[in-house]
């Protein structure tokens, strides 16, 4: 086992991890910073985000509007002080990215352009064609190369955190190419490993989005918060789950059922015209749109495809020219994978899991309750998304809180003394042994894919768009059973170098733990709020009993312990979450003068 001693280690080199590394390098050029990622940075799943990143720029927009949209979108489960910080820093970060070269799409006069997005009152979504995440990630990765103090361990898979005397001291990672272990001892550890959408069958996520960091922190006693809130993105490819960005709807796309009817008007999001209109119809929030699909399917008004029911995303009226210019990647996706030209035919779409609002509990500085450990990005729950995330808030989160994490962790690395390396090495040796033990030579166990498919199917059935108590309970039981069966997992690849079956087995372990946190959190929330919607007597939001965050605490032998924490409500008391015409009627800011958002 190799040993590396650094000041700060960042697990995950996606948007959040890279931004944190840059922030730390700028805050303190004397620190040595190590980025550890199981894939090369440009493969991180930030690359697949399409639509855009929020930042108030228009003179008729304001931080207050962005705040209200976010808190309303989150169904009042957001920590409002953190949302205040967030909206106040988005624009600055987007400008910084632009200075670093991010090719934001422009207006003819050369200023950055913004577009409409779901749940946003006024256009504030910065976009780089329809590949915003791709451009942000490549900009961040290429910019990180400027800093000599940022080093990387590419294609190194982290297995466990090293915790001693109530403090996090680093991480053990497998060099994927050789199968050898490296113990990275650090004074500050930032987890930026992304979400856990792969625990579901149909999802927009890449194969790497398996909740690694969430599980690693969780197993060390750090709570996972609000895990029951899993976002279904309403417009994904049936079967594969590949994403058709919300920007399709921002540019004017509509959703129609098998009768060619814009069905969203039946679900409190209408009237359908005038169109387009922010926060109405197809620009409503994602949870509402996904729920509308579910109802349409029950009513038999969806279109049957070889990969299940779907509705149609109709972009034909945008015209070929606008499509190629504003949504080029969408056109390519539709053509390559479905053989459809969106200028000629509508695209079949259905909801698929896209984002995990919940994650590692952190405070406003991205610090966890475990000294030395920080978390940022989709893997964390800092309090801005609440029960439902608005599109384009997540890419902005990576930059805003990536910077906070880098600076916080840098302060921590400067102030804490180094750990007891000899003692820690012994712990690390045990970690290596545990990881190697997964590669057993006895036969007779089950194939990895069988367990993984069973987990994914169970999550889809029990913790889907709409939830029922008995189904959730069944999923909880299935997951407990899968955890047992996991002990007898049969691996066929017994090599050390590039043994991706071994790594997939470790990922499955992470996923089962995270899935348990999701399922048990969901079972215990006896109300409907945001993305957690029940149809078993708990259809309403229950602020009296459940205006609080769910915490899931890991227990080695048994299901997670569920507890609750209050939500930080500062100035926006829970109101009615309304969109469409009703939303406009209830909007207190309808007649206000515009503020300068900067």
């Amino acid at each position: 086992m190799k040993v590396m001693v650094v000041d700060m280690v960042i697990v995950g080199a996606g948007g959040a991890g890279l931004r944190a590394a840059i922030a730390a390098a700028e805050a303190d050029p004397t620190l040595n910073i190590l980025l550890v990622s199981k894939v090369y940075p440009m493969r991180s799943h930030t690359v697949a985000a399409e639509g855009g990143s929020a930042g108030v720029v228009r003179p008729d927009d304001s931080l207050e509007h962005h705040f209200n949209d976010t808190v309303t979108g989150g169904d009042w489960l957001c920590d409002q002080d953190v949302v205040d910080y967030f909206v106040a820093h988005c624009t600055e970060e987007m400008v910084r990215l632009e200075h670093w070269g991010c090719p934001w799409s422009r207006k003819p006069d050369g200023h950055v352009n913004v577009r409409a997005f779901g749940g946003m009152k006024i256009e504030r979504t910065w976009f780089a064609a329809d590949k915003t995440g791709f451009h942000m990630l490549h900009t961040l990765f290429q910019t990180s190369i400027k800093y000599p103090t940022i080093k990387r361990l590419d294609e190194h898979f982290c297995t466990e955190l090293i915790v001693e005397d109530g403090r996090c001291h680093g991480v053990v990672a497998i060099d994927i190419a050789s199968g050898e272990f490296t113990f990275v001892a650090a004074k500050a550890v930032i987890i930026a490993t992304g979400g856990a959408g792969r625990v579901y069958q149909q999802n927009t996520n890449g194969g790497i989005v398996t909740g690694d960091g969430m599980a690693m922190a969780y197993r060390q006693g750090v709570a996972l918060r609000d895990m029951e809130f899993v976002q279904y993105h309403p417009t994904c490819m049936p079967g594969s789950g590949l994403l058709f960005t919300e920007a399709c709807r921002g540019e004017g796309g509509i959703l129609i059922n098998k009768d060619g009817y814009r069905y969203l008007q039946d679900y409190g999001l209408g009237p359908p015209d005038p169109w387009p209109r922010n926060k109405a119809m197809e620009l409503g929030p994602r949870d509402r749109l996904s729920q509308a699909f579910w109802h349409e399917e029950r009513k038999g008004r969806t279109i049957a495809t070889p990969h299940g029911a779907a509705v149609h995303l109709d972009l034909r009226h945008l015209g070929a020219k606008k499509l190629r210019e504003r949504l080029p990647q969408i056109c390519e996706l539709a053509e390559s994978f479905l053989g459809i030209d969106p200028a000629e035919k509508p695209i079949p779409v259905r909801p698929a899991v896209h984002y995990t609002m919940g994650g590692i509990l952190v405070d406003g500085e991205t610090a966890t309750a475990l000294p030395g450990l920080y978390a940022v990005g989709e893997c964390s729950s800092i309090g801005i998304h609440g029960a439902n995330r608005l599109g384009s808030n997540s890419l902005a989160e990576l930059s805003v809180f990536g910077k906070v994490a880098g600076e916080s962790a840098a302060r921590c690395a400067r102030s804490l003394p180094p750990g007891p390396i000899a003692t820690l090495e012994k712990q690390a040796d045990d970690v290596c042994r545990r990881a190697i033990n997964l590669i057993r030579t006895e036969t007779g166990g089950e194939r990895l894919a069988i367990l993984r498919d069973a987990m994914a199917e169970s999550m889809e059935m029990g913790c889907g768009i709409y939830r029922l108590g008995p189904q959730m309970k069944k999923t909880c039981d299935t997951l407990a059973e899968l955890k047992e069966r996991y002990r007898q997992l049969q691996l066929y690849d017994t090599s050390l170098g590039w043994n991706t079956e071994w790594l997939a087995a470790i990922e499955l372990g992470y996923q089962i733990d995270v899935a348990q946190a999701i399922a048990h959190s969901a079972l215990n929330r006896k109300e409907s709020r945001g993305a957690h919607s029940r149809i078993d007597g708990f259809e309403q939001r229950d602020d009296a009993n459940f205006l609080k965050h769910t915490l899931a605490a890991y227990r080695a032998d048994g299901p997670p312990a569920i507890s609750y924490r209050p939500v930080n409500i500062t100035r926006s008391p829970p109101g009615k979450r309304a969109y469409g015409a009703e939303g406009e009627r209830l909007d207190p800011h309808r007649k206000e003068q515009s503020h300068d958002g900067r």
Partner: protein
């Protein structure tokens, strides 16, 4: 009772070049037979093999939508992204999958990528600002026409298919190569950047633009229409101009490759 599905079910033969350094002296072809579903991708075929037939098959993949660049490989002798290579009914009975040409094989379909990444890091792949600006001063102005000058080069997903297509890279592994030149030109062509002179050092060398003989196959195989051949060959002109004009006082912030 006959099951309609099993009568109609088609089979696909997938031949994969395997290499397990801990066991094999050299790569060896292995053949698998899998159920074939119309519209499945080559990636899905490989995943089926790994999940249900042979767990030892290793390959890189992630996004499944041709944007992360992980799954480049030789499919029936052509460099392609496995996730985007769709098998349609009646077309295909067998498939040959090999790792990307011109790269050393680490294991099965996984090739050594570290040299490529080092080359990316070597070309100053970041904005060296033409004029300083603080975030408070807002964004640099850049018109759509100015962005059009480098936009396609910024679409490179680092999939390295162009390297598998480039015979000069095959002959000279130290050639910077098409993808890296696309990134270089992405920055040289960006109106906000003034790093052209710095990057010119790398362009001049034997492993720079002059290793290229304008075969052009790199642009043919690029899944993102980046046109790396244009990036490399533009820089031959730039390199020559730079050489002949070097006696003139440097115009400093001047644009190259206009």
């Amino acid at each position: 009772m006959m099951d309609a599905k099993s009568i109609a079910e088609e089979r696909l033969i997938v031949e994969v070049l395997r290499y397990r350094p801990e066991e094999d002296a050299a790569p060896v072809m292995e053949s698998y037979e899998i159920p074939y579903i119309d519209g499945m991708s080559v990636l899905q075929a490989l995943q089926y093999i790994k999940d249900y037939i042979d767990g030892t098959l290793s390959f890189r993949w992630s996004c499944r939508m041709a944007i992360c660049g992980s799954c480049g490989m030789m499919i029936d002798g052509k460099p392609q992204l496995a996730c985007q290579t769709i098998l349609r009914a009646g077309d295909v009975r067998s498939l040959r999958v090999e790792p990307l040409k011109h790269f050393p094989i680490e294991r099965d379909l996984v090739v050594t990528m570290s040299d490529f990444v080092s080359k990316v890091e070597s070309i100053y792949p970041f904005i060296i600002p033409r004029s300083p600006r603080t975030p408070a001063e807002g964004e640099y102005l850049q018109t759509p026409a100015e962005m059009a000058r480098f936009e396609n080069f910024s679409d490179c997903i680092n999939c390295m298919l162009c390297y598998a297509a480039c015979p000069q890279f095959g002959e000279n592994p130290n050639f910077l190569g098409p993808g890296v030149f696309a990134l270089l030109q992405r920055y040289n062509g960006d109106s906000r950047d003034a790093g052209q002179n710095k990057r010119m050092e790398l362009v001049h060398t034997e492993n720079g633009a002059w290793s290229c003989t304008a075969v052009g196959h790199c642009s043919d195989v690029c899944p993102k229409h980046v046109d790396p051949a244009n990036a490399v060959n533009q820089n031959k002109t730039n390199s020559a101009l730079d050489f002949f004009l070097r006696f003139l006082p440097r115009r400093g912030q001047s644009e190259r490759g206009v």
